[in-house]
């Protein structure tokens, strides 16, 4: 992060019911920065996909995310919004087992030119992130960290 960057951080349960809260937060930040409606819609989908992955990792692919664990033991995820001069980066970090990003990436371009029998219901998340953002990075060390970046094209710059 540069000195001029601004950070907004959310820490929340890694549960499907909180993903819409991340979307609402993203909307507020991106709208203030001057992103267009369409760009914000794109980012909403990409960020939700990253959060979905965090939830699925945390719960070993049981998506509804309800457990009988005590609150302090429940898996958490962290979403950092980094406001830059010319871009917004969103970092989604989970504590779950690292996932094989390369294996997921190989499933790209899911349905184009296929027959119905060849279609699969999964593997669309990372594909959508890459299609909707300018840059996508996946780091897997302790848990998985996905960095999504969208550039801000200001109208005065295009003169």
């Amino acid at each position: 992060m540069k000195a001029t960057d601004e950070l907004i951080k959310l820490q929340l349960p890694a549960s499907a019911e909180y993903v819409d809260l991340v979307r609402v937060t993203l909307y507020g930040i991106a709208a203030k920065m001057g992103f267009s409606y369409e760009e914000i819609e794109d980012m909403k989908v990409a960020v939700s996909e990253a959060c979905n992955n965090a939830v699925l990792h945390a719960y070993g692919n049981h998506p509804t995310g309800t457990t009988s664990q005590a609150p302090e033991e429940q898996p958490r995820m962290e979403v950092r919004f980094i406001k830059k001069q010319d871009a917004l980066s969103i970092v989604v970090k989970d504590e779950g087992e690292s996932f094989d990003a390369l294996a997921v990436a190989r499933q790209k371009s899911p349905m184009h030119g296929k027959s119905i029998d060849q279609l699969t219901a999964g593997g669309l998340g990372l594909y959508l992130m890459q299609a909707l953002m300018d840059q996508v990075e996946v780091h897997s060390d302790a848990g998985t960290e996905v960095v999504l970046t969208k550039r801000l094209v200001r109208s005065e710059d295009t003169v």
Partner: protein, 110 residues
């Protein structure tokens, strides 16, 4: 975090046709509910099954994955399945993932 209007599903049965209207946000949180609602309808082989998205505000890859599952199950049952009234923001995602030609009527008739 209980939001009763987050996602709603309503089924309308006409002669020879079953239309499912979904509204709100179809995402990971409501995936189980959506799958459970669609399961019995997929088996109605003598009826056309349509999903109307007119009031759907948001869909994620989980939601698109459910459409793929329904499409495949209907195909196995040799029964028609179409998606209608697709809002532009959702249509964009369908086009990106490549599901559009499989679920829109126009293309099925070609």
């Amino acid at each position: 975090m209980k939001q009763p209007e987050k996602f709603q599903l309503r089924t309308e049965t006409q002669e020879g046709r079953c239309i499912v209207y979904v509204s709100g946000e179809l995402d990971l949180e409501v995936a189980t509910q959506m799958r459970a609602a669609m399961a019995p309808l997929v088996e109605l082989k003598d009826r056309e099954l349509s999903l109307n998205l007119r009031d759907l505000k948001y869909i994620d890859s989980t939601g698109i994955g459910i459409l793929v599952s329904v499409l495949k199950a209907r195909h196995a049952n040799q029964a028609p399945f179409t998606v209608e009234a697709i809002p532009p923001t959702i249509r964009k995602l369908f086009d990106m993932t490549g599901i559009t030609p499989f679920i829109t009527k126009q293309n099925q008739e070609q």
